[in-house]
Every structure is written in structure tokens, then in C-alpha cells.
């Protein structure tokens, strides 16, 4: 009876409500809140009939009302109000009186439904018409993921200013596919940024894709990780320009973590069928087997020469970037390569407007290394590609001239390829054939022997020989010269015969043996009717002359000789040594090499300001001066150190640039001892002088043959650093030792902190601030803000290990949102970064937060994409390992943050935030000390770049609310 009465009452009540409301729909709409008491409403869960109300507490629903009696919703006992926000929507049935229409929110309505009428589900929100991308819940996103706005009317405008003030975030990166040199790249960067990746290579096998480094190809050629087995190598300079373009982040090709990240199909160390990039040996980009000592000078500080071979031919010690061609041509100078690129003038790298690491308007440029990939998040916009200072034969293929970043959809890294044609790549295993120590005077049909030392197992098919044929007394005219291999006549002989001024016929004799020449490309320097001939022989053999000892014959023919018979040339003819120049890097055979001034192929050695040495050597007869010795007179700055393996330039008084290779200046350690000291340092070891190229070398028949030797000496300086876009604050001192010489010659910026992408900030210290030799010049550029007065560092707050230890609670760790990984690592528990960051890459909006109660050594390169975060907090010291070239992240050490010297003297790039002595206990600090040896003269050991995006990537649970409170008079 009670239940029936209750149901009857409910029915009457609903009928009443129905009578006073206009029924337009079967659910309530509008923001409303029941501000009076509510009555819980219960129903039987049975369905026959459905929606029967019941009284809680009864044991079971009556027959016919099967099921249990369960709570359904609250029924408002009073009026609804429309003043509540969405958080207070009373969902469920609207079984009570609807609020008066006048109290409803404009545009909303409220209708009454019968409690026995099932409540239909709310309509599925739909985005407004014209929406580009339905994000769900009625929101409209751009295809780039932009969302927001009350109406969801955000249009696609990723990266630029939001399409309307309500649109701001880019969320939910959309998977996308892009082609790249290696095939397919999947993945997305943050929608607010695009990214450009640059892979520069020679398409040696002509398949238009990057094939990695020889048999260790790691980059896929179509989605997988198939090894093509054919190497593509080359590097060059490239410029990417566009609004706000920033400097590149470099990722070595051997570290294909990013590629792995983008290619889930790439194998891992545990996937035997695949390929594990990180375990690969680095590509042998260096100078393995190159001729000593010419190769050694490219690797100052580590080279050395033993029995004609560099002690360390680069597998371990020589920086990879010491090899390969530069825009300067066939040989490189480290100064040109790492610092500048451009057209090399006779004495220096030609670039005056493009320096790596410096900022020139909207363009960024940097010499690129072959086989290396440069990536950088860049603002949305078009980017023009421009090759810098390369011959016109080098062209961009498989790539648009302009890359639009972030205009299509949520775009991930853009990869594009530059393929260089018309270049001859460096032999993988170059043969070095040494000429004899002295020029050989031919008597008769003499034989001039070159030999392969040490023998090389393999060689590629291009050799370059340079020979000089000269009639010493000038009485005769040379009309024919030849070059012959092997010791039997007419076997693999090249014969050049003059047919008149400027013309020559080439006769090639070959036999079918292993030395058969496939092609011959001979370039004359002089016409074949003079008294001196220099010939460059580019010869391609059918097969590699493995471990052959072969001879080069030089023959001349006197035009007065009758019958064109090869005659003994007698004492009047000399054939100077041939130089077999198989190493080097790349020779552009499209260029008119013999007419090219050789000096233009070289870059100037490092000659710090005021420290060049000049020695004059006069020889009455060249044959008497080789070998010889030279005493060096010097003048320069104090404490200059002759660097071993340093290459000297040789010039002659009556000729242009010669070419010489010196033995090391061993024993020349520190010279000097006072300002403007001029004195004798030490004798140089015997050296050779070769004649190379047109008009080069020393004419022994000159009345006063003279060789001038310019030797660079290096003033050693300490390691130093440079901050970019950053402030620096210290409770003690800020000290940097920027070398004065570097600033003086324009290679370095004297400021400790410089603006690159943004403004640089101030330098603030409790004690003193010094930039070494450049004290008092400029500390910050362009903002030269320096505050070095005590008591300026507020120490009220300590955001140290203990602070984060209190913040990173178990609850925080357990409830971390997707994409955020917290690690709490106890003392002695940290073993390998592979446990936490196996790819060395944090992308998208991912966050990795590591709280380590111990010292930490960072021994992997780490890339943190824009809007992602790596936060490493250590209760002890954080050390960047010697093998690390680049790390991104926020590094907070209660103790010391420091970096180790690199065995390859490689510069370290740090982007993010660095903190030492975070607990302010006076122990620890920050030491950006990477000693790069001679490279300290021209560039910092550590370049730190501030990343403002990481401030906003910090999880809110790790931040602190400012709270202040007080008692007030109650109202």
C-alpha cells in the first residue's frame, strides 16, 4: 500500500510538472542547479516493466518489477537555478519542476520528462559546420591539432599566432608520413613547430637515397632497415633561411636515435634481424691510411707519423669532421671546416658573413658533415634551401627549393636530400703512393719508381698522377711524354704526342691484365712544345691494382731527334718525381684543375694573431737542399707552442705556391719567454719539396731559388665556454677565459653570453665576473648587463633534490599522465641510461623526470624536442661524459655540474638549463670545462643555449604556488 501510494504521489507530481511545462524534448537542457534539497530517486533494475520506482531498503522489487532497487538520480525538491557552471549540471532525469523560463540561461530550455520515460543519451556534440578536424566533444581542431575556443572554430594555423584568441594549444599530434632520404619517416613533432633535417651526401650509387656508411647502412630505404651495402658519402655547406630560423642541432648519422624513434621498424639490440644503430662503429669518416704526414696535420694533437702512417689514423682519435671535402675544395683546414666555410682565398677561409654558431638575420648556416643529420625545430614558415660556396656542378636533387614547415598538417621532421653530382668521391681505402724522396734525373729511358707503402688491400679506380717533364737547359723541345706502368714496354702506356701548339693526341696502350686502364683523362698544363711540362694524369684502372708495385716511366722526346724514336734523354732532361695523390678528399673533375691556383684549394692554417713565423731558405740548387734543414726565426706572443703535426705552407720567390710536407716540429715546445722575443727556436727536420701543379714548385734554374716557409704557432689557452640566449647567476664568481687572439682575429665573440635566437640575459654574481683576456670589453652581447656586487642572489628558496623529493611523491609517480615518466633512483641504483632513455630522445610533449639520489654521469647524447622535457635532478654531481657531443635538458645538481674533456676535442653543445650547487650549501657549482686543445683558440669547448620552452614544459606538480594569508575581520 505504501509503495502504491508513493508511486501514485510521484505520478501526480510528475503530471503536475508536465502541466506547467512545455514539453519540447525528452531531456533537460541548460545550466541549472537544484539549490534546495534533493530526494533520491530509486528504480528497479528490472525491465519488465522498466523504470519502476521503488523504495530503498525493500528487499526486492515486487513480482513484475524484477531486479533490485537501486539509486538512479536525485530529484530536486525545489527550483533550479541557472547560475551554476557546467561543473554543477545535475544530470539524469529531470523529474522535478523546471526553473521558470525567465531564470534559464539564454538559449537554453528545460523540459519535464516522466520518471518512467527512459532518459535518452545526450546528443553527441558535433563540431560546427566547416570544421576541418573533429577533435570530439564538439570541438573543432585544425588538422594540425589546434583546438580550443568555445565554438570550436579554430582554423588550422599551427605554429603561427592562433587563429583566434581561444585557439592556442596544439594538442594530439597527428601521425603523419613524410619521405626522406632514407625512406619513410613516421611521427610528429609538436604542432607548434616544424623541423628540418638535413642529410648531405653523395649519391654514389645513384639510387637517390642515403645508403649509410658502407656496409653499416642503418637508414632504411623504404621503411625497413635494409642495408644497401653501398655507401654514400659527402658533406657540404647548406643554408636554411626563413623567418626566425635557428641554429641546427646536430645528430651524427651514427646515432640514428631520432631515426629509430621515427621508424618503429628499425631494429634494436634485441632484434637480431634488425640493426642496432648505437652499437655501430662510427663511420670511418676520417683519414684512415692517409699519407703521412699530410694526413696528420688534419688531426692536430693526436696525429703523429710512424713509418709513413699516422699513428692513429682516426678510428679513435681523429675527429670525424676532419675528413671529407669542404667547400674549400680537395683539402680542408680544420679552422675552415669547423668554424667557417666559404670560398677560400689565398690565405684564409673566405667566409665573412657566415660563421657557424653566429646569427645573421634570419639565416643560419653551418658547415655540414657528410653522413650527419642536422635537425632543428623551426618556426612555421617556408624555408629556402641554398647551397653555400659550392661549385655550380653541385645541385640539389630530390628536394624542393623551398620547404614549407608546418603548413599541411601536424608535421614531423622534414627530411630532404641533397645529392651532389659531378664529384669523385674519396676512395674508401685510399692508396698512397710515395714518390721518391728526390727528383730523379733521367738518363736514358729511365724508370721512376713509385710504390705503394704500405700496400693496400683495395683501391678504387681513380688515381691521380702529377709529373713534371722538363728540359733543363731549355735547348730542346719536348714533344712527347709518356707514363707507363709495369716493367714491360708498351704495357699500359700512355703516350702523349704534340700535334701543334696547344694540341695533343693521347695514345693509350693497354693489355688485358689486372692493370688495364679503363680510362685516361690527361690534362696538360703546358702545351707540349715547351721546355717544361706538367701533366696531371687521372687514370682509371679496370681493376684494383691490389698490392702491386708498379713503375712509372717518364719519357721525353727531343724534337731534334730524328725519327721519333725514344732516345736517351741524357743529362739535359729531368723528370721530377711524380706525385701520386690518391688521398685528399674530393676533386671536382669538372673544374679546370691545372689552371686552378692550388692555394685556392687549401684553407689557411691556424695562425693566431701575431704569431706567424717566417723562415727563408735559399738554395742554389734544389737537389742540394733536399733534404735540408731550416732554422726558424720567430717573433710572437709569449708562451707560444709549436704544434706537432702542423702543416707549413711553402712558397717560392719566383713561383707560386708549392707543396711541402714537413716532419713534425718535434722538440719545439715552448719558445719565447718575453714579449717580442725574436730568436732561434729549433731546426726543422728534413723536408721535401715537390712540384705540384702548374707553375708551382721551385725552379732550380732560377738564379735565386728561394723557399719561404710560414709556420703557424699556437698560443695555448684554457678551455672556455659561451652562453647563448641565457642569463647566468652565481653566488660566487663567473669566470670565462675567452682567448684574446680569437677575438682579435674575429673568430670569437668576446662576450660570455650572447644573443642568438633571443636576447641574452644579464650576468649576475655575488663576487666578480671576468671573461679573461677580454676583461672590460664586453660581457654580454647585445645586452651588456653585468651586476657583480655582493648580496644579490636571493637564497630564500632552494629548489634542490630535497624539494623535488618532496614533490615527486608516490602518488605523483603512479598517476603521471601519459607521456610523462617519473623515475626515482636511489643511491647506487643508477646503472645505465639505457634503463631510462634508451633512444636518447624525448619528443613531442613527452616528459622524462629523473630524481637520482647519487652522482650521475651523462654518457649519451640526448635530444629533447621543443615542448618536451628531460629533467635530471641529482643529489650529488652531474658529469657530462667525454664522448658526449650534445645534450638537451634541465640538469639540476646539488653538487657540481661539470663536463669532461673530449678525446676527439669535440665541442659540447648543451641546450636547456644547468644548475650547480642547487642546495646552496656552498659546495659544487658549474664548470663548463671541455678542453679542446688547439681548438680552444678558435671556438669554445662548451656552448650552452637557454631553452625557454622547458620552463613551460615543467609539470605543474613540480612547481610551487605562491601562498600568502592573513586573518581578516569577518563580514
Amino acid at each position: 500500500m505504501v509503495r502504491k501510494f508513493f508511486l501514485f504521489s510521484i505520478g501526480l507530481f510528475c503530471l503536475f510538472l508536465f502541466s506547467v511545462s512545455s514539453v519540447q524534448a525528452q531531456y533537460c537542457a541548460g545550466n541549472k542547479e537544484c539549490c534546495d534539497s534533493v530526494t533520491p530517486y530509486y528504480e528497479c533494475t528490472g525491465t519488465s516493466p522498466p523504470n519502476q520506482s521503488c523504495t530503498p531498503g525493500q528487499e526486492a522489487c515486487d513480482s513484475g518489477f524484477n531486479g533490485t532497487c537501486e539509486f538512479v538520480t536525485d530529484v530536486c525538491n525545489g527550483e533550479y537555478f541557472n547560475s551554476c557552471s557546467e561543473n554543477h549540471l545535475l544530470t539524469g532525469r529531470c523529474d522535478s519542476a523546471c526553473p521558470p523560463p525567465s531564470t534559464l540561461m539564454p538559449g537554453t530550455s528545460c523540459t519535464l520528462v516522466s520518471p518512467n520515460t527512459p532518459t535518452p543519451p545526450p546528443p553527441t556534440p558535433t563540431p560546427p559546420p566547416g570544421c576541418i578536424y573533429d577533435c570530439g566533444d564538439g570541438l573543432c581542431c585544425g588538422t594540425d591539432g589546434e583546438t580550443g575556443g568555445a565554438g570550436g572554430n579554430c582554423i588550422q594555423d599551427c605554429g603561427g599566432p592562433p587563429s583566434n584568441p581561444d585557439c592556442y594549444y596544439c594538442v594530439n599530434p597527428v601521425s603523419c608520413v613524410y619521405g626522406d632520404p632514407g625512406g619513410t619517416v613516421c611521427g610528429c613533432a609538436s604542432c607548434s613547430l616544424g623541423r628540418i633535417g638535413v642529410l648531405v651526401f653523395v649519391d654514389q650509387n645513384g639510387n637517390s637515397v642515403w645508403d649509410g656508411d658502407g656496409t653499416d647502412s642503418r637508414v632504411s630505404t623504404g621503411g625497413g632497415c635494409t642495408d644497401s651495402g653501398v655507401a654514400d658519402t659527402l658533406m657540404s655547406g647548406l643554408q636554411i633561411s626563413g623567418s626566425g630560423a635557428s641554429s641546427f642541432t646536430e645528430n651524427a648519422a651514427g646515432d640514428c636515435d631520432i631515426l629509430n624513434n621515427d621508424r618503429p621498424g628499425c631494429a634494436t639490440s634485441t632484434n637480431a634481424s634488425g640493426y642496432y644503430c648505437n652499437t655501430n662503429p662510427r663511420p670511418d669518416f676520417d683519414n684512415s691510411g692517409r699519407c703521412c704526414p699530410d694526413s696528420c696535420w688534419t688531426c692536430p694533437g693526436w696525429g703523429g707519423c710512424t713509418t709513413g702512417v699516422c699513428v692513429d689514423h682516426g678510428h679513435e682519435g681523429c675527429p670525424s669532421y676532419h675528413s671529407g671535402a669542404t667547400p674549400c675544395g680537395g683539402k680542408i683546414s680544420e679552422s675552415c671546416y669547423s668554424q667557417e666555410y666559404g670560398t677560400c682565398s689565398a690565405s684564409a677561409c673566405g667566409s665573412e658573413t657566415s660563421h657557424s654558431g653566429q646569427w645573421y638575420g634570419n639565416a643560419t648556416s653551418r658547415a655540414l658533415l657528410y653522413g650527419r643529420i642536422f635537425e632543428r625545430n623551426v618556426p612555421i614558415g617556408p624555408y629556402a634551401l641554398q647551397l653555400l660556396n659550392l661549385p655550380s656542378e653541385y645541385t640539389i636533387v630530390n628536394s624542393p627549393g623551398v620547404i614549407n614547415v608546418g603548413t599541411g598538417d601536424c608535421e614531423g621532421p622534414h627530411y630532404f636530400a641533397l645529392r651532389f653530382d659531378n664529384v669523385v668521391p674519396e676512395p674508401v681505402d685510399p692508396i698512397i703512393i710515395y714518390p721518391p724522396d728526390v727528383p730523379v734525373q733521367i738518363t736514358g729511358v729511365d724508370r721512376h719508381t713509385c710504390y705503394d707503402d704500405p700496400p693496400h688491400a683495395e683501391a678504387t679506380d681513380l688515381y691521380k698522377f702529377i709529373s713534371t717533364h722538363e728540359d733543363g737547359d731549355g735547348s730542346l723541345t719536348i714533344t712527347e711524354v709518356g707514363l707507363e706502368f709495369a716493367d714491360e714496354s708498351y704495357s699500359n702506356r700512355i703516350r702523349l704526342v704534340s700535334t701543334g701548339t696547344g694540341n695533343v693526341t693521347v695514345t693509350r696502350y693497354g693489355v688485358a691484365n689486372a692493370m688495364d686502364m679503363a680510362s685516361v683523362d690527361v690534362v696538360w698544363n703546358y702545351q707540349l712544345d715547351g721546355t717544361s711540362i706538367i701533366v696531371v694524369w687521372d687514370i682509371s684502372f679496370v681493376s684494383s691494382p691490389n698490392n702491386w708495385i708498379y713503375d712509372i716511366w717518364g719519357m721525353t722526346q727531343d724534337e731534334n731527334d730524328s725519327g721519333g724514336i725514344w732516345n736517351a734523354t741524357g743529362d739535359q732532361f729531368k723528370i721530377w718525381d711524380c706525385e701520386v695523390n690518391l688521398f685528399g678528399s674530393f676533386y671536382d673533375i669538372s673544374a679546370d684543375y691545372p689552371s686552378e691556383n692550388c692555394s685556392s684549394m687549401y684553407c689557411a692554417p691556424i695562425i693566431p694573431y701575431g704569431s706567424a713565423l717566417v723562415a727563408n731558405f735559399i738554395a742554389s740548387d734544389l737537389t742540394d737542399v733536399t733534404p735540408g734543414s731550416v732554422t726558424l726565426n720567430f717573433s710572437g706572443l709569449d708562451n707560444l707552442i709549436y704544434r706537432e703535426s702542423y702543416r707549413a705552407d711553402v712558397t717560392g720567390t719566383d713561383v707560386q705556391v708549392g707543396y711541402s710536407s714537413f716532419a713534425d716540429l718535434g722538440g719545439c715546445s715552448v719558445c719565447g719567454g718575453g714579449a717580442d722575443v725574436v730568436g732561434t727556436c729549433c731546426d726543422m727536420a728534413p723536408f721535401e719539396v715537390f712540384e705540384v701543379g702548374t707553375g708551382k714548385g721551385v725552379n732550380p734554374y732560377d738564379n735565386d731559388p728561394r723557399i719561404t716557409i710560414n709556420v703557424g704557432v699556437l698560443g695555448m689557452v684554457e678551455s672556455w665556454y659561451q652562453l647563448e640566449d641565457s642569463s647566468a647567476r652565481s653566488r660566487a664568481s663567473i669566470v670565462d677565459t675567452i682567448p684574446e687572439s680569437c677575438v682579435a682575429n674575429g673568430s670569437c665573440d668576446a662576450a660570455i653570453t650572447v644573443g642568438r635566437t633571443y636576447d641574452n640575459g644579464p650576468l649576475i654574481s655575488n663576487n666578480s665576473i671576468s671573461n679573461g683576456d677580454e676583461d672590460g670589453v664586453v660581457m654580454g652581447d647585445p645586452n651588456n648587463w653585468v651586476v657583480a656586487t655582493g648580496g644579490l642572489i636571493y637564497s630564500g628558496d632552494r629548489y634542490d633534490y630535497d624539494y623535488f623529493d618532496g614533490r615527486i611523491t608516490t602518488d605523483v609517480v603512479d598517476n603521471a599522465p601519459a607521456g610523462t615518466d617519473y623515475y626515482r633512483v636511489g643511491a647506487g641504483e643508477f646503472s645505465s641510461w639505457n634503463d631510462y632513455l634508451p633512444t636518447g630522445f624525448v619528443g613531442g610533449t613527452d616528459k622524462v623526470i629523473m630524481l637520482v639520489d647519487d652522482d650521475v654521469i651523462v654518457d649519451i647524447d640526448i635530444v629533447v624536442a621543443g615542448e618536451a622535457l628531460l629533467l635530471l635532478i641529482s643529489s650529488g654531481d652531474i658529469t657530462i661524459d667525454e664522448d658526449v657531443d650534445a645534450v638537451d635538458g634541465v640538469f639540476v645538481a646539488d653538487g657540481l655540474f661539470s663536463v669532461e674533456d673530449s678525446p676527439t676535442e669535440t665541442q659540447l653543445s648543451i641546450e636547456g638549463v644547468v644548475v650547480g650547487d642547487a642546495d646552496l650549501d656552498g659546495t659544487g657549482g658549474v664548470v663548463f670545462g671541455r678542453d679542446r686543445g688547439v681548438w680552444n683558440l678558435t671556438s669554445p669547448g662548451v656552448v650552452f643555449g637557454y631553452r625557454p620552452d622547458m620552463l613551460f614544459a615543467l609539470p605543474v606538480e613540480l612547481e610551487e604556488n605562491s601562498i600568502e594569508w592573513r586573518e581578516i575581520i569577518p563580514e
Binding site: P379, R729, N767, V915, T923, G925, E967, I968
Partner: protein
């Protein structure tokens, strides 16, 4: 003959009466004092309960905020304790100016959100802003303005009122006119050249050399809210006490603004 003096008897009675009166008065006084003491003790207890309730109301409101249950009011009660709290939530700051009540030490950073981090549609639209500090001594400041023009970026400024110091630290002289609250003076920070409309995010001001209170003054649109203002009124019986809390938006550790920070030195070797 000794004459008895009636007056002597009366004196005794008077003394007795006086003693009795004094005794009564003392007794009554003691009784009244006990009553008052009991009453005062009761009020103190209610006051303490009301204060504790106000504190609990604040705690409750903070927990609701942390759980993202944002409402304009909350109610907390403790039937067992006989107390309750009514909590009102409103925006902190915002409008035409904002002056935190903190006094900032040299090197301490003050964070001013030019875009509401909880509602990015609310931002400060002009590209100049007034910066105010306490009058009286020469002040110097460094400003870090973070913005987003597709990627996060920062622009900085530095001013110093002291001309002598400017020769050493390279700061600029304050410029522009701004109307600050009484006891404050200020200058205009103009970032028009660097920051586009609708790109502002966060302004961080760090005083140097001298401690001071700080404030920002709009040169046009509204300054977005800087957090929540929470008023909790605790009541026990008829005793009420109220607490006011300014609860700012979360801010990062200061070194996230610096880039490089060291408790000791920064060196290159």
C-alpha cells in the same frame, strides 16, 4: 568606676559588620570573577574553534582546487566540533593593476602572468605595461618576458634608477610615465618591438640592490587573474573568524628563468 561605653560595643559590631561585608564582597567578587573566567574561557574556545574551522575551510578549498573542482563557494563543517566554515573563491588580481603584498628581496623573482595559465583565452593585450615599485630608494630591475610566437621565446629588459650604477651594469634608465598606487613610482616596459599581439605569456621581474614591493599596471586591457583569492569564515556558535589567502598560479623554480645558475661559481675550467 569604669563606665562602659556603648560606643565600644557598637564598634565591635561595626567591625564585625565590616569584616562580614568585606568578606561578602570578597566572596561575591570571587564568585563573579569565576563566572567571568568561565565565560572568557568559553569564548576563547569558541574563537579557537572558529579559527580552526576557518583554517580547515582553507584546506578544504585548496584540496578542491587541486582536484580541479573549482567553485565560487565551498562549505565545510564539523558537527562533532560544533564548527563550520564558509569559503568564498574569487580571482586574485586581474583588472587594471596588481600589487602583490610580498616584499621582494634583491635577486628574488616576482612572477606576473600576462596570460592566465588556466585559461589561455585570458591574456593581456597591450604590448606595454607599467612596472611600479616602492618610492624612496633607487631601484634596479631585470625583466624577463616570455612569449610564444609559435615557439616559446624570451625578451629581456633592465632598468636602473641610479645613474652611477648604470655606468657599471649597463642598464637603461627608467622611461615612460605610469600612474602607480600611492607610495609607488614606476616606468613603462615596452616590448612592442619583440612580441606580437596575443603572444605574451609570463613576465618575471627581479629587483636588484634593494628590496621592494612590486606592482604592474595595465596600459590598456585587463591584466589576467594571477590566482585565487580565498576567504574562509569559520564559525563556532556565535563566534566567527575569517582568513584571507592569496593563492597564486604555480611558478617554476627561479633557475628555469636564468638558464645557468650556481650556488657557487661558474667557470670554464
Amino acid at each position: 568606676m569604669r563606665i562602659k561605653r556603648k560606643t565600644e560595643k557598637g564598634q565591635v559590631a561595626l567591625v564585625v559588620l565590616l569584616v562580614s561585608a568585606v568578606t561578602l564582597m570578597l566572596g561575591l567578587t570571587a564568585s563573579r570573577k569565576s563566572t567571568i573566567d568561565i565565560s572568557i574561557g568559553h569564548d576563547q574556545e569558541l574563537s579557537a574553534k572558529a579559527f580552526a574551522a576557518a583554517e580547515a575551510g582553507l584546506e578544504y578549498a585548496l584540496s578542491e582546487i587541486s582536484a580541479d573542482n573549482i567553485d565560487s563557494s565551498y562549505y565545510w563543517d564539523s558537527p562533532a566540533a560544533g564548527s563550520e566554515a564558509s569559503v568564498l573563491l574569487s580571482e586574485l588580481g586581474g583588472g587594471g593593476s596588481y600589487y602583490p603584498s610580498d616584499t621582494y628581496q634583491p635577486g628574488e623573482m616576482a612572477y606576473f602572468w600576462l596570460r592566465n595559465p588556466t585559461d589561455f583565452s585570458e591574456y593581456y593585450s597591450p604590448r606595454t605595461i607599467g612596472l611600479c615599485w616602492e618610492s624612496g630608494s633607487d631601484q634596479a630591475f631585470v625583466a624577463h618576458l616570455f612569449y610564444n610566437n609559435g615557439s616559446y621565446a624570451v625578451v629581456r629588459g633592465a632598468v636602473d634608477e641610479d645613474a652611477g650604477r648604470r655606468g657599471l651594469n649597463g642598464f637603461a634608465a627608467p622611461s615612460g610615465s605610469v600612474t602607480c598606487d600611492s607610495g609607488f613610482e614606476g616606468s613603462i616596459y615596452d616590448f612592442t618591438a619583440n612580441v606580437g599581439v596575443n603572444e605574451v605569456m609570463l613576465l618575471v621581474i627581479m629587483p636588484l640592490y634593494e628590496s621592494t614591493r612590486l606592482g604592474i599596471v595595465s596600459t590598456g586591457g585587463n591584466i589576467p587573474a594571477q590566482g585565487y583569492e580565498i576567504t574562509s569564515t569559520g564559525t563556532s556558535a556565535n563566534v566567527s573568524r575569517a582568513l584571507l589567502m592569496n593563492y597564486g598560479w604555480p611558478i617554476p623554480p627561479y633557475y628555469m628563468v636564468d638558464g645557468v645558475f650556481s650556488g657557487t661559481s661558474v667557470t670554464g675550467n
